[in-house]
Symmetry: C2
């Protein structure tokens, strides 16, 4: 299959691309002007600088069958001057891809969402309530997508991710923090630590994406959205204890010295887990 | 009340502003750089060129109580190169206003929507299905707004408009077309003409907006959305006949010589009409 991937230079993209190629797919990537895509080992690159007609030609000439839309501007707590970029990255770019995909007659569009689109809603319900403006923009893109699914035969499905971890993660995530303070011995002030996290290894995330892409490609019946979930929810305190046990380390954390974040997610959304998929890697010594 | 109006230079804006002033309100308008706002008789003008902090200061200094958000980029059938402007005008601008309004502590936000957000859905159901990308972008803005209503005390309500008409309408609307062919005697090829229209006089639309702004300001209980509707649905053929009768004119229309538009709205969405409001002006000789 000729598959176009956006967000190829991000944490998940870097793991997805080799896996797609191992599975025999022909990977094309879409980049913004100025992005550094060397080192990804990809030959097929299309640049997007607002020229949707160029995208249409590229899709047609390269017989793109589907799009995996990972690209996203993630901002946990935004500043006013970031709103325009959030709207352009998380709503406009995807809409441009759908426009080009509809016109070029591609078959499917796998959209990556976040469980943060469903703040404090009962499990299984798909009620929308965004944790932050980032999550709202992901939902707003799905709102735009409805126009394209209603006016074309394009198959569209959203895979909502929970927290992710794994090698080569340059994002400032919790395990990187644990590793740092474990090495330096420094003290760290944290929230009370009772918020629970659902965290999945990037290899499992990649397997889920490839699984769903296959379902879309084979015209299997899919729901409008699925969740990638570990099936476990551990509190931050439990995660820290696990890290200590598995690494023989001692973390000097002052629990409760900082307040919870605004709209802290205490219990992650569960939703409907991707059919036929389950996480293979539970928190292991190596990663944790 | 200090009220900020966007889209002041548009058809409805031009009618709304004098009416707001007659009702004793202090009208501020938000304009894009380069807009020509002279002739509107407004003294309070704030320019928006992506500086949200400037908006916040303006709202605070001028004690803006509420916003009437009329500004919109209307495109019935879009071209690919219009998508970015649609997203910026119909999603980003409103989001920037909500951000500034939340920070400055304004009380309410009256959003103007369109009944085209509800294509072919049963009356009263608020099921979303956009007629076109324009309608999708209006809904996507409401999706973004949810973040602000969940994280502030800002009161947000959407008033969905049906077709509108009235004096000084520079949009290429049906009555302008009838008037032209009635004067020139030219023949006009049209669709079969059985699509039904719900059309309201701009004075009634303005009365509805002012009514809803009052409800929001007085903290009255409001639904998330209302519709402005004439309560009548006339087919295009019936409208033409009415025009001929009331103006003693003869329209040379070749019905059925053109196809219906893609996703032509045959039966407009009814929804829930604004409480305590009803149209006063039914199609009159003067306008029609």
């Amino acid at each position: 299959m000729n598959i176009l991937v956006t967000g190829a230079t991000g944490f998940i993209g870097k793991h997805l691309i080799p896996a797609l190629r191992t599975n025999g797919h022909n990977v094309h990537i879409l980049i913004r002007p100025g992005s550094d895509w060397r080192g990804l080992g990809v030959q097929h690159v299309v640049e997007f600088a607002d020229d949707i007609d160029h995208l249409i030609s590229y899709f047609e000439e390269n017989e793109i069958e589907g799009i995996i839309h990972l690209a996203s501007l993630y901002v946990a707590e935004h500043q006013p001057n970031q709103i325009k970029d959030i709207v352009l990255s998380n709503i406009y770019l995807g809409t441009a891809l759908l426009e080009a995909g509809k016109t070029a007659g591609i078959n499917w569009f796998l959209n990556i969402g976040t469980i943060w689109q469903n703040y404090n809603v009962p499990d299984q319900s798909d009620e929308y309530n965004p944790v932050n403006l980032y999550a709202a923009s992901k939902q707003a893109f799905m709102t735009m997508a409805k126009y394209y699914t209603e006016t074309s035969s394009l198959r569209f499905c959203t895979l909502k991710l929970c927290d992710t971890y794994g090698p080569d993660d340059t994002r400032k995530k919790i395990f990187a923090l644990f590793e740092r303070i474990s090495k330096t011995g420094e003290e760290l002030d944290m929230s009370p630590g009772y918020q629970r996290l659902d965290i999945v290894h990037v290899d499992d995330v990649v397997a889920g994406i490839i699984k769903l892409a296959g379902m879309l490609s084979k015209n299997e019946k899919v729901r409008p959205e699925y969740v990638i979930s570990s099936g476990r929810q551990l509190s931050l305190r439990e995660l820290a204890r696990l890290y200590e046990q598995q690494n023989g380390a001692k973390l000097r954390i002052n629990w409760g010295k900082r307040p919870y974040r605004n709209r802290e997610v205490m219990t992650p959304y569960k939703g409907v887990v991707l059919e036929g998929w389950e996480p293979k890697i539970l928190l292991k010594e190596k990663e944790c």
